[in-house]
Amino acid sequence: MGRRPGYATLAVLRALAEGPGYGLDIMARTELPSGTVYPLLARLDRDGLARARWEREAVAAAEGRPRRRYHQLTARGRRELAAMLREWRPLTDPLPAPGKARPEEA
């Protein structure tokens, strides 16, 4: 991966770990906006952490809706997720207090 993955990547990977899903589905599971989820799914696909597959025409036709594109975690994706979960620690440190002391002046 080109850059350090952030919280959104982790969230999408976890959502995919629950099972294959299409974009809107992943949005619902992660509560992330479309502008975040879709580029992430595309990136996971390029990096080989997830794989996208169009559902069969017959299934969509039977349900009377357009075809869905399902995203599924690959074995590499699973390993990456496990590694990330080990790395992430809850952020509990309080913020450092702002401000600096100034010397007194005439």
Partner: protein, 885 residues
């Protein structure tokens, strides 16, 4: 729903609201960014899922907005790689392979963009950039005093202290400062510098870094903080400077610290300060205690504050208003005084109002220069495009995708623009040190382009490249490959060339407008310099001297000093009348003051209208040839601190003594501590505040109060030699009294034309630039036409046309461009005249002389530009027709 599966799949179109329709349109639009190969699948996925949201218009819209970042990401995957790895290299190679085109195109555009970068730097420095060295300047406020809403005046020290004591909650700190002249060093080493007297907390409130050394403390003796500039120039940046003695105005001070980061005071429109002296030591600096720190009637300090976090300027005003109202009620301030608080530091409201129209005019003129440069760029790109048409045709014929070519050309155009912007920034940085000299007042800010200006300039350059270099280059890819091959090197189609001629006509029009603006402004400056403003400045020199800068400056001794200086100057060969005055008319903008009624403190009611108070001697009126109307001028016996008599202007006499002679009567208001002086003479009205304000009511008082004065000398010889000799005569009297300003009065007046002068100087440069660019543009279009018509010209020659006929063909082409251009330019000038009207002095925008001069200049430039192509046409050889296919 009875429709079959397939129909239902398409059904969403039918039963959706406007939100969903808009969302679908957004997704289709975003899809354009996705590379062609993946676009269909990308749209299918997004549109498919949008279908599920078909009942919720708002969610659909939010969902569709996300499609843009996804599409941009997809597009960047391909574009980013290809643009960086391939196109950029290809574009750079293309530019290097055509060095003549690249150099001329970059320079042409750089001139246009550079004009803008320079004006942007100037505007940014004067209006948008705080003076250097101040920390978090956005949180600072200026606190002004006004009796009428347009004023923004300074305060007395006691009034400032009363406000500072009451400002606790709203302000994190309040401070004050005042400018003063000073001389550092002694004897022949003495140098005149600008000093600021600063109140307690000055460096803390402004958040100025001081070091080496420290800020002044309350227990310090006479100490001074020096500027970084003085530290480097006089002390070689020695870190051991704190603690060293420094002679200021002949008196011993101790350096406590060095103000860093280029800090030179909190005021943009003032010479950079080199010394910062605590207000508490002002008596040491001046050599006498005139009680200014306790005097409620002397308003002389500017007040600044730092807002507490979350407090607005209006809240600061509300916090200070009760104090000011109380002081007004108690008679300590002029009744009706209100407090005014403005955000930011360095530029006062009146200065901002004065600079803004000048900046707008200059930006407008610079934009016109850029427009003219862009047309030339388009012409160059078109010529290069047709020269490359063959190569492009070959690539297209071999199956290169047109999109690829377009992208290469796009990158090349932007690269050209960015190169030009880089050159423009170098030009602007090189011009920066000279901008000071173009302004009527000294300024304390640098004009080197800052990051904001650099960003804008790059954007301007890239946009110009994109908008003007790309379309003509694209035109070359549109031709059908076979045609391009066949036609390569032969005549171009008429369409683009007609457009080109029209564009050059536009250039001529714009050049006309810019040159006309320049001519009008320069004419105004000349008119102002030649005006007889009620006094005669020709042959007069002026030297500003401050007697408080020498050690033994008591009133009696200053008068002796003035008399010695006067006598010394009068002995200079060629010197005529010699006089003294506390403020030069127009140049120093003789300020008006509100006179106090007899009895001292103001009573209730509206404040009396202001009058101008000036100290002068009899020699001043003689030197400036201001005629005496009645009574007498001052005599030697009048001079001194008493100021018991006064000379008034005719306007004042008519205002305060209507229908009666004022001679022998006291003024109806006090001008100092004593009783109102008696009027002994009346002089003719003359310009005082500026060359355009009507003459104001003024009171002249005898010299001798100890105030700094200008020595004015009228002489018969060349004024610069007179100036040198008078300066030598003054130095012979007191070597440690270097003049703060020594200049020829008429030159000072020419600089005092304010915005008009600045605008005129810039417009003159911009006018020359546009003239040059338009001439180059005309030359380009004619030369290209002649080159294209070589064969035709040769055939004409072969069938009997004379050389003169061929030259006439080109000349007619030139006229067909220039004449409509001139007409349009004249109309444009009249239409845009409102933009310059406010700056004009004694000339109207439609002035026939100026328009004729402008037209003649352009015709001359056009003739020069057409000369080469005309001669080339006349030289066409009949044999050429045979040689060229």
């Amino acid at each position: 729903m009875s429709a079959g599966g397939r129909d239902r799949q398409r059904a969403p179109r039918g039963r959706t609201g406007p939100g969903v329709a808009a969302a679908r349109a957004l997704i289709r639009l975003a899809g354009v960014l996705v590379p062609g190969g993946r676009r269909a699948a990308w749209r299918a996925e997004w549109e498919g899922e949008l279908w599920q949201l078909r009942d919720d218009g708002r969610r659909s819209l939010g969902f569709a907005l996300g499609a843009f970042s996804d599409a941009a990401g997809e597009g960047w995957q391909i574009l980013g790689r290809d643009v960086l790895r391939h196109d950029l290299r290809q574009a750079a190679r293309g530019l290097v392979r055509a060095p003549a085109f690249t150099v001329v195109a970059v320079l042409t555009l750089a001139l246009g963009v550079g004009a803008n970068a320079t004006v942007l730097s100037l505007t940014s420095g004067l209006l948008f950039r705080p003076p250097p060295g101040i920390g978090d300047p956005e949180a600072l406020v200026q606190v002004g005093r006004n009796a009428d809403p347009t004023a923004f005046d300074n305060w007395s020290v006691p009034a400032y202290e009363a406000m500072a004591a009451a400002s606790g909650g709203a302000l994190g700190g309040m401070t004050a400062w005042s400018a003063a002249g000073a001389v550092v060093g002694r004897g022949s080493d003495a140098r005149s510098v600008a000093a600021h007297l600063v109140a307690a907390g000055y460096f803390r409130v402004l958040d100025v870094r001081v070091g080496p050394g420290r800020v002044p403390l309350p227990d310090d003796g006479p100490v001074v903080v020096i500027s970084e500039r003085l530290w480097r120039e006089r002390f070689g940046a020695d870190p051991g400077v704190p603690g060293r003695p420094l002679t200021v105005n002949g008196r011993p001070f101790t350096i406590v610290g060095v103000a860093r980061d280029g800090f030179a005071g909190a005021d943009v429109f003032r010479a950079p300060a080199d010394l910062f002296v605590p207000l508490a030591h002002h008596a040491v600096l001046r050599g006498r205690d005139d009680g200014a720190l306790q005097d409620w009637e002397r308003s002389w300090v500017w007040v600044l504050g730092r807002r507490a976090s979350g407090v607005t300027a209006a809240a600061v005003r509300d916090a200070l208003a009760p104090v000011v109202a109380r002081l007004g009620g108690a008679g300590w301030l002029v009744p009706g005084t209100a407090v005014q608080v403005v955000e930011g530091v360095g530029v006062r409201p009146a200065e901002r109002a004065a600079v803004r129209p000048v900046a707008a005019l200059l930006l407008g003129l610079a934009a016109l220069v850029l427009a003219v440069a862009c047309v030339n760029l388009a012409g160059l790109a078109a010529a290069r495009g047709s020269a490359r048409a063959g190569a492009v045709g070959v690539r297209l014929a071999l199956g290169a995708p047109r999109g690829r070519l377009v992208r290469e050309l796009l990158v090349e155009s932007m690269l050209l623009g960015i190169l030009a912007a880089a050159v423009a920034l170098v030009l602007a940085a090189a011009c920066a040190p000279f901008l000071d000299d173009l302004l009527p007042t000294a300024v304390a800010v640098p004009f080197t382009p800052d990051l904001r200006v650099a960003g804008l300039t790059l954007l301007l350059g890239a946009t110009a490249g994109f908008a003007f270099a790309l379309p003509p280059a694209l035109g070359a890819t549109r031709a059908d490959p076979a045609g391009a091959l066949r036609e390569a090197g032969r005549s171009a189609t008429g369409g683009p060339r007609r457009l080109r001629s029209a564009l050059v006509a536009g250039q001529v029009a714009v050049a006309f407008a810019v040159v006309a603006a320049a001519a009008l402004l320069v004419r105004s400056v000349m008119n102002a310099a030649a005006a007889r403003p009620g006094f005669d400045a020709s042959g007069v020199v002026a030297l500003a001297l401050d007697p408080s800068l020498v050690p033994e400056a008591t009133a009696g001794q200053t008068l002796a000093l003035w008399r010695a200086v006067r006598a010394g100057s009068a002995a200079v060969p060629g010197a005529g009348s010699v006089g003294l005055v506390s403020a030069l008319p127009v140049v120093d903008g003789q300020r008006s003051r509100t006179p106090l009624p007899p009895g001292g403190l103001p009573t209730a009611g509206p404040p009396p209208p202001p009058v101008i108070l000036v100290e002068a001697d009899a020699g001043y009126f003689a030197a400036l040839r201001i005629p005496l109307v009645a009574g007498r001028l001052f005599e030697a016996a009048d001079e001194g601190p008493m100021q018991a008599v006064a000379v008034v202007t005719r306007a004042l006499a008519e205002r305060f003594f209507p229908g009666a002679s004022p001679l022998g009567r006291p003024l109806p208001f006090a001008v100092g501590d004593g009783p109102p002086p008696t009027v002994v003479g009346v002089v003719e009205d003359h310009q005082q505040r500026s060359l355009t304000d009507p003459p104001a009511a003024a009171v002249y008082l005898p010299v001798g109060s100890g105030a700094p004065l200008d020595l004015v000398v009228r002489g018969s010889g060349p004024p610069h030699r007179l100036l040198r000799e008078v300066a030598e005569a003054v130095a012979a009297v007191r070597a440690d009294l270097p003049p703060r300003r020594a200049a020829v009065l008429s030159e000072l007046l020419a600089r005092s034309t304010g915005g008009t002068g600045v605008a005129a100087r810039f417009a003159a440069v911009f006018g020359s630039l546009t003239l040059l660019l338009a001439a180059v543009g005309l030359y380009g279009v004619l030369a290209q036409a002649v080159a294209h018509r070589r064969r035709e010209l040769a055939i004409r020659r072969a069938v009997g046309a004379r050389a003169g006929d061929l030259a006439a063909l080109v000349a007619r082409h030139a006229l067909s461009v220039v004449v409509p251009g001139l007409l349009a330019g004249g109309l444009l000038t009249l239409a845009a005249s409102r933009a310059v009207a406010g700056f004009l002095y004694d000339v109207t925008p439609g002035d026939p002389t100026v328009l004729a001069f402008t037209g003649l200049t352009l015709v001359l430039a056009a003739a020069l530009a057409a000369a080469g192509p005309t001669r080339a046409a006349a030289r066409a050889e009949p044999a050429e027709a045979l040689r060229r296919p």
